[in-house]
């Protein structure tokens, strides 16, 4: 299970990234580029987990997993949503901050001291990759800040979009798509939270189901539905 679940998540993510990049080439838009990059990060994270499950510990694989899968993925996906919804000037500013923070995160992760034995400490069994392997203080502290930004922007943006479409009763496919994206985006985070509490497999399953739901949500949001919206003619109002 620790191999095929993350491997499926990885394959789903790379296929999803292909769809997003193809759409980017056709339509442009930085949000599509960032979503594509974010899904590549998602895929790298899943691949590293599958590698660990199949072949065991490898420091390079761990560092790649922690950087792309644990730190960067949500924030970069969320940055795509920022480009979609926020003013360009704000989005550019946040992009610069995220870029610099990502470089800093990469330097910290690749210079950190590791001890894989620590992954079996506490509630963890060691069967899944865990940030506990990082000895150097201050590295794991970075993760919640990236994930906070990613959750607020990605999930918040999807919810905001769904709310706007629902309030106006337009583009039902986008309402549904954004709801699916919002749900899918929370699943890996919840998987990570449950994993912290010692529930084996929660992280990997959360990532797999999250990738599938976000993918379906993206396809739904970008594919108009054949069912026409119902129109309700309001009763005439008599003005006195």
């Amino acid at each position: 299970m620790n191999v095929w679940v993350p491997l499926l998540a990885s394959i789903t993510s790379f296929i999803f990234a292909f769809f997003v990049f193809r759409r980017y080439l056709a339509r442009r838009g930085p949000h599509l580029l960032l979503w594509g990059i974010g899904m590549v990060f998602y895929g790298i994270g899943g691949f590293c987990e599958a590698y660990f499950g199949a072949f065991g510990w490898n420091p390079l694989i761990f560092r790649l997993w922690y950087l792309f899968g644990a730190i960067l993925v949500a924030a970069w996906l969320g940055q795509g949503t920022v480009y979609l919804l926020a003013k360009r000037k704000w989005a550019d500013t946040l992009m610069v901050i995220l870029g610099l923070a990502s470089i800093y995160g990469a330097i910290r992760v690749f210079s950190a001291e590791l001890d894989p034995g620590l992954m079996t400490s506490g509630l963890h069994t060691g069967s899944e990759l865990s940030g506990h392997a990082i000895i150097t203080p201050g590295v794991r502290t970075l993760t919640p800040f990236f994930n906070l930004y990613g959750t607020v922007t990605l999930v918040g943006g999807a919810l905001y979009s769904a709310w706007i479409f629902w309030r106006k009763r337009v583009l039902l496919h986008r309402t549904i798509g954004n709801i699916l994206i919002a749900v899918g985006a929370t699943l890996p985070a919840f998987g990570g939270a449950f994993s912290r509490f010692g529930i084996a497999g929660a992280l990997y399953w959360g990532e797999l189901l999250g990738a599938i739901l976000i993918f379906i949500g993206f396809l739904r949001a970008t594919t108009p539905m054949g069912t026409p919206l119902l129109r309700r003619a309001a009763a005439p109002v008599s003005e006195t």
């Binding site: 800040f145 959750t151 629902w166 009763r169 549904i176 929370t186 985070a189 994993s195």
Partner: protein, 50 residues
Amino acid sequence: MNEEEKAPPPTREYPPIYEMVVPIALAVIVVVVVVLLLIIVGVALGLIGG
């Protein structure tokens, strides 16, 4: 009295199932996200370990 009748522009509606499900789904996700954010903040502050 002005007897003139005005017909406001028609308002749209989603199919009934979506009219019911969408607001419930949005509300549930908002609650879930708030819980998630509290967990993330808890981790950031070191209140939640593992």
